[in-house]
Amino acid sequence: MSPRAVVANAAFGLLLGFSLSHIGFGDFGEVHRMFTFADLRLVLTFGGAVALCAAGFAVVSRRWRFVPRPAQAASAVGGVVFGLGWALSGACPGIVLVQLGEGRMLAGLTLGGILGGTWLFGLAQRRWGIGAAERC
């Protein structure tokens, strides 16, 4: 395993976890106030990040070729299911790890649910042929 990949993953994982915690994404109340537009700080944080990413990727895409992401039915249906889960649990796959790091023990239930749901979708794909959008 290349040392470069390990160092980059460790550094950016640490930066992401540290930032999400200070942004307040690990706090259910903050996430709920974002989704109800009671507080626009997280909405602006996410929107601003996407805008800055657009500028950054315009440069990075000259060096690297990334997979295209066409719009598919599964992108929409999967997105809706994910959003419902986020509103219920206050976590997305990255944030649940930050919550655990912050000492919120009950996030263990969310993590168990996410791993179970990931496994369940694999089963649904094999058994019933439910289609997935291409992976990021």
Binding site: G13, S19, F82, P93, G94, G113, T118, C136
Partner: protein, 209 residues
């Protein structure tokens, strides 16, 4: 430590900058997009991922591929007795121009990323003096769900896992890396997960609060 950055909640511009530096920096240094739900899936299928990595390594160098193709084409032309073989066919092939496709990020290094995210959350709390084990559920969560709060975490988690795999990405892969590249599938998925999150939270806020 009494630095503002290490203590309180970040203003929106600092949060936006940090998230963008992470997503763009990851892509720039590894040539692959950062996507957390994809890391879960790869780790759950680690055995298949490892064999794919081995196969991919054999085909990584595009110069070697281009050179092999040139030699075979030249040999075939000679076998068929082609008279006017182009001059560039005699010279060793150069790598094709344009952006490169980076090798896969090794699956075990993705586990490092997930552990580092956990450590990042702990570090943020430790440096601001607030790291403590909380066995109690979040007050706002209890306000909405009462005694069903743990069930909402578990069931919500299942929906998150199922939905992100179906959509092929989550907040990082679609939201940051995909929307940042203006990809139609990512813009659609992000609009859908944000939209359904807003809709359900509005309903929960009205009905349960």
């Amino acid at each position: 430590m009494n630095l503002e950055v290490l203590n309180g909640q970040w203003p929106f511009w600092l949060g936006a900058l940090a998230l963008a530096v992470t997503a763009v920096g990851y892509a720039a240094s590894l040539g692959r997009l950062m996507g957390v739900s994809g890391m879960y899936e790869r780790l759950l299928n680690a055995r298949v991922e490892l064999s794919t990595e081995r196969e991919e390594r054999a085909f990584q160098d595009r110069t070697i591929l281009a050179e092999a193709l040139r030699r075979e084409t030249l040999a075939e032309m000679q076998r068929q007795g082609v008279k006017d073989i182009p001059a560039e066919m005699a010279a060793p092939a150069a790598a094709p121009a344009g952006p490169e496709v980076a090798p896969r990020v090794p699956v075990w290094s993705q586990l490092v990323f997930l552990v580092a995210m956990f450590a990042g959350g702990a570090l943020a709390k430790a440096l601001s003096g607030g790291l403590a084990v909380q066995a109690q559920p979040d007050p706002m969560h209890v306000h909405l769900f009462g005694r069903a709060a743990p069930l909402a975490l578990l069931f919500g988690g299942v929906l998150v896992g199922f939905g992100t795999r179906m959509a092929g990405g989550c907040t990082s892969g679609h939201g940051l890396s995909g929307c940042g590249r203006l990809q139609p599938g990512s813009l659609l998925a992000t609009a859908c997960f944000f939209g359904s999150g807003v809709a359900l939270s509005m309903v929960l806020g009205r009905v349960l609060a």
